[in-house]
C-alpha cells in the first residue's frame, strides 16, 4: 500500500477523536488587521509623502557638480595683462574609495610619497583622522601646490590608485611685479565666515574669492558664472548618464587706468631716491599718486616698500616670508598712498581756499615778513612766538604759496593776535571754518578709491574733536587754543592726510572745484574685449569759486617758478613742461621722541589746462629738496610716455 493511497490514516497515523474547533474568526481578523497596517503605512508613504520621497529619490541619484568659471583678467590702460590664471594642483584622497586592506592602503601611501613627496605616515594619520570622524566620504587634501610636472605625473598614476586623485583649482599668478601688489590685491580660499555670506550669492565652497585690491572690489565682475554638470550616478558613484551641462561663463576683465610703465617707473624712482639728507636720514617709506584732474582716473599709485602678492598663491609655502613681512616695521602690506600723516604746507592750499572764499583775504592781501620769529601777545598778556622758515619780505597770496610762508597763513587762518582776526571771530570758530573747507576738499574721510585699504581717512581736528580725543589721556589738553588753529592752518598739529587725499584736493584745485572720486579701474570688458561698462564715479562740487582756485593755481605756478626766480618748488621744474605745485615739509615726532620731517610735493601740469596731478610723499625728507624733483621726473615721464 502506497503512502499516496490517501484512504484515511490507515498506516501508522495517530488517531484522534477530538472535534475540530470553530473559533477561526480570530485568524481572519488577524489577516485583515495585519494587511490593514501595511496598507495604512504604504498609503502614508506612497500617497501622503510620495512626492517627498520622489524628490529624495531624484536627489539620491542625480548629482550636480559645479565647474568653476575662468576668472577675468586685469589689464593696464594699454592692454597689458597684469595677472594670469594658473591651475592650483592638489593631491587629494577620498578615504571611502581606498582599498580595505591596510597593507594595500599603505602601498598607495608610499606610491603617493614617491610622486609628490608627502610622507606616507602623515597621509595615514590624516586618513585615519577623517575616518574616525566619520568623514570618509569627504575628499581630504594631502599635498597642496604641486609643481606642474608633479601634478601631471600624479594625474597619470592616479588612474590606478583608487581613492587618490588630482584636484585642480583656479589660481592666480601676478607677473607684473611687486609694485602692483597693493593695487591688484590677491585671491584665496573662502574662510568659513566669508562662505556663510557668499553662499547666498551662489558661491561654491571651493571657489576662490578676491581678498583685497581690485581682485576684491571687482570680485562680482571678475568671478564669472558657475557652470553645472548634472549626471545620473548609481549607488557606487559610477556615472550612468550625463544629463545636462551648463558651461561656466568666464568672468569679465577689468581694464585699469594704471599705466604699467609709469607705475614701474615711479616705483623704481621712489626706491632709488630713498637716500636722505643729514637732518632726516634715509626715507623708509614713500608713496606717489598720479591721477587725472579731469576724470579721477589714477595713472599710478605706488607704495614703498612693496611686497610680492604671489606669496598668497601658495600660502603654505611662504609662511616665513609672510611672517617677515608682518614683522617689518615699515608695514609693507599697508598702502602708504592711503596712509595718513601730517601734510604740512601742502595743506596751505586748503587754508588759502578757505580764506579767499570767506573773504578773509584777497589774492592781493599782503604781509611783510621781516623776521623768522613774530611774537604775538595773547589776551592774558602771554607772548606767543610765531615762526617762519625764512625771512620772506613782503608777500601776497601768490608769493606766500610760492615760498610757503607760515606767518602769512597764520594771518589767513588764526589771525595775528592784536592785528587781525582769523577766519572766524575767535580761534575755535576759525578752526571750524577751516575744517569745513578741508572736508569739502576731501580731507577727514576716505576718498572711496576702488582698491580698498583706506583707513578712516586721516584727521581734520576741531574743538569738539579735541575735547573728545584728547580728554581721556590729558584733561589739561582738551581745550582748543589759538595755537591749535594756527598749526592747523599750516597742516601741522593734529592734521593728518593721505597722499591720495592730497592728490585729490590738488585735482580739485587744478580743475576749478570738482572733487573727484579717484578710481583705478577704468572699464569692465568682456572676455572678447567689448566694453561692458565704464567706471565713472560721481564728482562733488567744492563750495569755492573758480576764480579763487585760479588764484591758488597761480601761486602754485610761481612756486615752481618758470620765467621768474621760482619758489620753494623750483626743483620740480622740467624744461619744456609747464608745471605748478606746492611743497610740504611737515614736522613730526618720531617714535623715539626726536623731531623729523615728512617730504611732500603736490602739483599738476600743464598749468593752463591741467591734465595730470602728481603727489609725492617720503616719510623722511624736505619737500622742496626730496619730493619736488621726483614729481618733476614723474611728470616728464608722463608727458613722454603716457597717453591720457
Amino acid at each position: 500500500m502506497s503512502v499516496l493511497g490517501g484512504g484515511g490514516f490507515d498506516v501508522g497515523a495517530t488517531p484522534s477523536r477530538n472535534r475540530p474547533h470553530s473559533n477561526l474568526g480570530v485568524l481572519r481578523i488577524a489577516v485583515f488587521a495585519l494587511f490593514g497596517i501595511l496598507i495604512g503605512q504604504l498609503a502614508y508613504m506612497q500617497l501622503w509623502n510620495g512626492s517627498d520621497y520622489a524628490q529624495r529619490s531624484r536627489e539620491n541619484h542625480i548629482i550636480e557638480k559645479n565647474t568653476l568659471p575662468t576668472r577675468g583678467l586685469i589689464y593696464d590702460r594699454n592692454g597689458e595683462p597684469l595677472v594670469e590664471n594658473v591651475g592650483v594642483y592638489t593631491a587629494t584622497i577620498l578615504p571611502e574609495l581606498l582599498p580595505e586592506a591596510p597593507a594595500e592602503r599603505y602601498k598607495l601611501y608610499l606610491q603617493l610619497e614617491r610622486l609628490v613627496g608627502v610622507p606616507a605616515l602623515e597621509v595615514q594619520a590624516k586618513v585615519k583622522q577623517a575616518e574616525d570622524d566619520h568623514r570618509g566620504y569627504i575628499e581630504i587634501p594631502v599635498q597642496k601646490y604641486l609643481a606642474k610636472e608633479q601634478a601631471l605625473r600624479l594625474d597619470e598614476a592616479s588612474t590606478d590608485m583608487p581613492g587618490i586623485s588630482l584636484s585642480v583649482k583656479p589660481g592666480r599668478n601676478y607677473p607684473a611685479g611687486p609694485e602692483f601688489s597693493h593695487v591688484l590685491g590677491y585671491i584665496g580660499d573662502q574662510t568659513q565666515e566669508e562662505h556663510d555670506v557668499l553662499r547666498g550669492d551662489g558661491y561654491a565652497l571651493n571657489e576662490p574669492v578676491g581678498k583685497s585690491g581690485i581682485e576684491s572690489r571687482y570680485e562680482k565682475d571678475l568671478r564669472g558664472t558657475l557652470g553645472v554638470v548634472a549626471a545620473e550616478q548609481d549607488a557606487q558613484g559610477h556615472l550612468i548618464e550625463a544629463l545636462k551641462t551648463t558651461a561656466p561663463i568666464p568672468g569679465n576683465g577689468v581694464s585699469l587706468a594704471i599705466d604699467a610703465g609709469l607705475q614701474r617707473y615711479v616705483a623704481e624712482l621712489l626706491q632709488d631716491s630713498m637716500a636722505g639728507d643729514q637732518v632726516n636720514g634715509d626715507a623708509t617709506m614713500a608713496a606717489a599718486v598720479v591721477m587725472s584732474p579731469k576724470t579721477g582716473e589714477v595713472y599710478a599709485i605706488v607704495s614703498i616698500p612693496a611686497y610680492d602678492n604671489n606669496i598668497f598663491n601658495e600660502p603654505d609655502k611662504h609662511g616665513d616670508e609672510y611672517d617677515a613681512l608682518l614683522q617689518d616695521t615699515r608695514h609693507p602690506f599697508l598702502n602708504q598712498a592711503l596712509w595718513a600723516s601730517a601734510p604740512g604746507s601742502v595743506f596751505k592750499l586748503v587754508t588759502a581756499a578757505a580764506a579767499l572764499e570767506t573773504g578773509r583775504i584777497t589774492p592781493e592781501t599782503g604781509r611783510d615778513v621781516t623776521s623768522k620769529e613774530l611774537d604775538v601777545k595773547g589776551v592774558n598778556g602771554q607772548l606767543y612766538p610765531l615762526y617762519d622758515w625764512r625771512v620772506h619780505g613782503y608777500v601776497n597770496l601768490y608769493s606766500a604759496i610760492a615760498w610757503s610762508s607760515n606767518i602769512y597763513f597764520y594771518q589767513a587762518s588764526c589771525g595775528i593776535l592784536g592785528e587781525n582776526k582769523g577766519l572766524g571771530k575767535d580761534a575755535e570758530s576759525s578752526a571750524v571754518i577751516l575744517g569745513y573747507y578741508a572736508r569739502a576738499l576731501g580731507f577727514g574721510s576716505p576718498t572711496g578709491i576702488d582698491i580698498g585699504g583706506e583707513a578712516d581717512g586721516g584727521i581734520i581736528p576741531d574743538p569738539a574733536w579735541k575735547a573728545r580725543v584728547h580728554a581721556p589721556d590729558n584733561p589739561e589738553d582738551r581745550e582748543w587754543y589759538y595755537a591749535d588753529t594756527c598749526f592747523m592752518g599750516i597742516g601741522q598739529g593734529d592734521v593728518l592726510a593721505t597722499p591720495l587725499q592730497v592728490a585729490r584736493m590738488t585735482a580739485a584745485v587744478a580743475n576749478g572745484g570738482k572733487l573727484l572720486t579717484p578710481h583705478v579701474a577704468k572699464e569692465i570688458v568682456s572676455p572678447d574685449g567689448k566694453v561692458i561698462r565704464a567706471i565713472t564715479p560721481v564728482a562733488k562740487q567744492v563750495p569755492v569759486s573758480a576764480a579763487n582756485f585760479a588764484a591758488i593755481r597761480e601761486g602754485m605756478h610761481q612756486s615752481v617758478g618758470y620765467g621768474s626766480p621760482g619758489g620753494a618748488g623750483a626743483r620740480a621744474q622740467v624744461p619744456g613742461l609747464d608745471i605748478a605745485g606746492k611743497t610740504g615739509t611737515a614736522e613730526f615726532f618720531k617714535a623715539d621722541g626726536s623731531k623729523a620731517q615728512h617730504a611732500w610735493f603736490t602739483g599738476f601740469m600743464p598749468f593752463n589746462d591741467p591734465e595730470v596731478v602728481v603727489t609725492v610723499y617720503f616719510d623722511l625728507g624736505v619737500g622742496g629738496d626730496k619730493a619736488a624733483p621726483i614729481a618733476g621726473k614723474i611728470l616728464k615721464y608722463f608727458n613722454d610716455n603716457v597717453k591720457p
Partner: protein
C-alpha cells in the same frame, strides 16, 4: 494495476483539491519572477535560458516546489504528525549544527552551504514545530485549556525560537512565537493563562535583551527608530528601501524604471527587499494587487482549517496560515520601515530555493488536509 484501483488510490481526492490556493500561489510566483527580472536587470546580463539567470533558476525552483506540493498533498498528513518527533529532533540538531559550521551572511548564521544549494534549516524547523504542536494538542485533550498542556506546548516551541534567536534571526523567532500563539488561541487557550504568560514574558524581556540580543540587532532596531543617525552605515538599507517604496507613489515608476532599484541603491533587491522593488516600480496599486493574492491564499488556508477533519489537521492548517501570514507581514513591514531589518524572505516572491520549496511543501500539507476532510468523516 487496474484502472479501478487507480481511481480509488492515485486519483482519489483531487475533486476536493483546492485549486484557488494553487492559483494564488502560482500568480504570486509569477509576480515574483517579474520583480526578480527587474531587480536583476542591471546585474545579470547573461542569456535568458540559463540556470545562472536568476529568473530561470527561480522558475525551476517553483516547478520543483509545485511537484513537491502535489506529491505531499497525496500523502496523508497523519504520517507527518506521526513522525513529527523525528522531524523535530532533526530540526533541533541541524539548528545546533548551523551555529557551529554554518555560513554567515549579513552578520547572521543561517545557511548550510552544500555546493550549489544552500539549506536553511529554520525553514524545515518551522514545519516540524507546527506538526509536533498539532500532534501534541490532539493527543492531550485536543485543546489548550489545561495549564500543564499549555506550558508543555510552550516548551516545544521554545528551543527552536531560542536557537533561531541566537543565530541571530529576530524575525524568524517572532514567527515561531506567532505560530505557537495562533495554534493555542485556536486550540482554546484560557485568557487568564495567556495573560499570566504574557506578564512573565514582559518581565523577563529586559534581561533577555541584555544577555541575548546581539549588538547588530540593537543597531538595526535603533536605526529603524532613526535612520538618519548613520546614513551611510546601518541605516543605509532602511533609508534606501523607504525612499524606493515612497517614491513609487500611486502607480509606480514602471517595471525596470525604478532608479532606486536599477541604480543599485537597494541592497538585495531580489530577496529581502523585493517588496521595495514592487513599491517603487509598480506603486501602491501594485502592492494592493500583491496583498489581494496573499489574502486570497490565506483565506483559503483558514478555510482548510475550518473544514479539517480533526484537531491535528486543523492546528496544522492554522500553523501554516500563521507561518505564511507572519513571514509576509514581517517582510513587508521591514520594507516599509515598520520593523527592523531581519532576513525574512517574502513567501513565493523572494528569490531563493529553500524558501520557495518549503512554502510549497506547506501548501501540499494544506491540500492534504483539505483532500481528507470528508474521507475522515465518512469513516
Amino acid at each position: 494495476m487496474t484502472l479501478a484501483y487507480r481511481r480509488t488510490s492515485v486519483f482519489r481526492g483531487w475533486d476536493r483539491f483546492d485549486y484557488l490556493i494553487v492559483l494564488s500561489a502560482v500568480l504570486l510566483v509569477l509576480y515574483g519572477l517579474i520583480l526578480i527580472y527587474s531587480g536583476s536587470a542591471r546585474t545579470y546580463d547573461g542569456p535568458i535560458a540559463s540556470f545562472s539567470n536568476p529568473v530561470a533558476k527561480q522558475a525551476l525552483f517553483a516547478l520543483t516546489g509545485i511537484a513537491a506540493m502535489l506529491l505531499i498533498s497525496k500523502l496523508d498528513y497523519h504520517y507527518l504528525t506521526h513522525y513529527s518527533w523525528v522531524l523535530y529532533g532533526i530540526s533541533i540538531l541541524s539548528l545546533v549544527a548551523i551555529l557551529v559550521v554554518g555560513q554567515s551572511s549579513y552578520g547572521s548564521t543561517r545557511w548550510f552551504d552544500l555546493g550549489p544549494i544552500q539549506l536553511q534549516p529554520s525553514e524545515f524547523a518551522k514545519l516540524a514545530t507546527i506538526l509536533l504542536l498539532a500532534r501534541f494538542f490532539s493527543e492531550h485533550g485536543g485543546d489548550a485549556k489545561d495549564l500543564k498542556t499549555l506550558v508543555i506546548s510552550l516548551a516545544i516551541v521554545a528551543p527552536c525560537t531560542i536557537l533561531v534567536f541566537i543565530q541571530p534571526d529576530l524575525g524568524t523567532s517572532i514567527v515561531f512565537a506567532a505560530i505557537w500563539l495562533g495554534v493555542v488561541v485556536v486550540a482554546g487557550v484560557s485568557r487568564s493563562h495567556l495573560l499570566v504568560l504574557g506578564a512573565i514574558f514582559v518581565a523577563v524581556l529586559p534581561f533577555a535583551w541584555t544577555f541575548f540580543v546581539a549588538d547588530y540587532q540593537v543597531e538595526r532596531i535603533s536605526v529603524l527608530v532613526d535612520p538618519e543617525q548613520d546614513p551611510l552605515g546601518a541605516g543605509y538599507n532602511v533609508r534606501q528601501s523607504e525612499i524606493a517604496v515612497g517614491s513609487g507613489q500611486l502607480f509606480g515608476k514602471g517595471l525596470t524604471n525604478g532608479e532606486q532599484t536599477q541604480l543599485r541603491f537597494l541592497k538585495v533587491p531580489t530577496k529581502d527587499f523585493i517588496f521595495s522593488v514592487l513599491g517603487e516600480e509598480l506603486g501602491f496599486t501594485g502592492a494592493l494587487a500583491l496583498f489581494a493574492l496573499f489574502i486570497l491564499l490565506l483565506m483559503r488556508g483558514i478555510r482548510a482549517a475550518q473544514i479539517a477533519g480533526d484537531t491535528a489537521g486543523q492546528l496544522v492548517a492554522v500553523g501554516i496560515v500563521v507561518l505564511i501570514l507572519m513571514q509576509t507581514f514581517i517582510n513587508v513591514a521591514v520594507n516599509v520601515s515598520l520593523f527592523p531589518v531581519t532576513g525574512i524572505p517574502l513567501p513565493f516572491v523572494s528569490q531563493g530555493g529553500s524558501s520557495l520549496v518549503s512554502v510549497f511543501v506547506s501548501l501540499g500539507i494544506l491540500q492534504s488536509i483539505i483532500m481528507r476532510h470528508r474521507a475522515y468523516r465518512q469513516t
